[in-house]
Symmetry: C2
Subunit: 263 residues, 2 copies
């Protein structure tokens, strides 16, 4: 909806690169042009380059996918103030991070923060999301929104899920705990782990053999994600599973590593 | 989705008029131009005038809203064959009629038949619909469709509803029976009733006092629909209710009529 409302044919959309792979698809559907602005060193926000792009909108996944890195609300506020277009902060993974940008909406008239229940509430099948922005922005979105774009059952289920913050927070703690344990175990195996603020870890195995690790794990029925692209192909993205699933992953990695040393 | 796929800014969409009031809204969102083609006498399909409009797409609600009238598949096949654009037949109410156009899809490469579970399956809250067309058309729709535009729960509920044809057919029979009874009762009170193929009746009270009837019933907590437009404002649209609801409506109408005669 945001793409449809803000961007027409030929309009520019700027995103830090690499980021969530659906943005180019959405831009394509509305015939908008996508400008990929490389992240600065250590996945820092390329504020100047984003502003220079002359875009009508900026999409910022925060935490970012697939890196799991996080830009502080302070830096995002700077970008929002300097940018004359619409800034969308996609907080799909934000409940696994330590801060968020909802508080910025009051001061930033062209900021949209969007969330989904697909990640932090384990309700991907519900296809339920929402956006927070000032009334002037929401009014524009309403013009394009379908009359009833959420069904009654999904609204009831989403409301119940959001109300039960105690349960949700408990699940996030489990993910953070396992994320920490998995990161330490991978580092002990000489992986280069990017500090994650999401429910996955993006990390490079020794020698940057991302594809080999992906294929080796797949053979054992363990699926991680490999992106065959610059800056990404040396790494794999590992979703945090249950303690048992994470143990199975670590065991498989150890066996693969031992097999190589023996060979 | 059909509007988004088929129509761009400035493209023409033709509809028989009057018809479902959402079509102009959808055309507006995609900046398409709507051409209203008046129905021929007795709500017959204005085939020639629709073809002459030079539109890129034709939307035909069949049965039509708010009239409840029905165009035979034979006449629609003639239009589909002669028309070079995309013909969408919106069969939202078709389960209350005696025929449908799904069978035409095989022979008509530019025909789309769409259905909803909001009417004949009593699942308006589910927001579930589907379209039937040849693969070449569906492929185009898929380009614009959201990755997951129905949630898992709605798909399960819709599947269960469609599977239980015995129950669905039983509800349709109840509606048809009450429709017949209500039409006869209204005619006995000198209403001009348009033969209905839908789950509502569109009819003119004596003297064409549609608005007065609407307001009088509203005062008694009975809601019917009044359209303050040419060819429509002398009538009201009455949705078929339960036998008890229909009796309450008939009683209220009789009391209003008696009150007028006494005054």
């Amino acid at each position: 909806i945001v793409v449809q409302t803000v961007l027409g044919p030929g309009d520019l959309l700027a995103c830090p690169d690499p980021t969530y792979s659906l943005y180019p698809v959405l831009a394509d559907i509305d015939e908008a042009k996508l400008v990929n602005v490389p992240w600065e060193a250590n996945w820092s926000l390329p504020t100047k380059a984003l502003l220079k792009a002359g875009a009508r909108a900026i999409f910022l996944a925060n935490p970012n996918a697939p890196s799991g890195t996080f830009v502080s609300p302070e830096r995002i506020a700077e970008l929002a103030e300097a940018f004359e277009g619409v800034l969308l902060v996609d907080e799909a993974y934000v409940d696994f991070a330590d801060a968020h940008c909802i508080g910025l909406v009051k001061e930033c008239p062209r900021l949209i923060v969007c969330r989904t229940l697909s990640k932090a509430y384990s309700l991907a099948g519900l296809r339920f999301g929402y956006a927070v922005a000032q009334p002037s922005i929401i009014e524009q979105l309403m013009k394009v929104k379908d009359s009833y774009n959420c069904d009654a059952i999904s609204i009831i289920a989403a409301t119940a899920a959001i109300k039960d913050q105690a349960y949700a927070a408990w699940t996030w703690e489990q993910v953070r705990g396992e994320r920490q344990r998995l990161a330490e175990a991978l580092e002990a195996m000489d992986w280069a782990v990017i500090p994650s603020h999401a429910n996955f870890i993006f990390a490079a195995p020794p020698g940057g053999r991302g594809k080999e690790i992906y294929l080796g794990l797949k053979q054992q029925g363990i699926l991680v994600r490999h992106f065959d692209k610059p800056h990404l192909r040396d790494k794999v993205r590992i979703t945090i599973g249950t303690p048992q699933e994470n143990n199975a992953l670590l065991l498989a990695l150890k066996q693969m590593s031992a097999g190589e040393k023996a060979a």
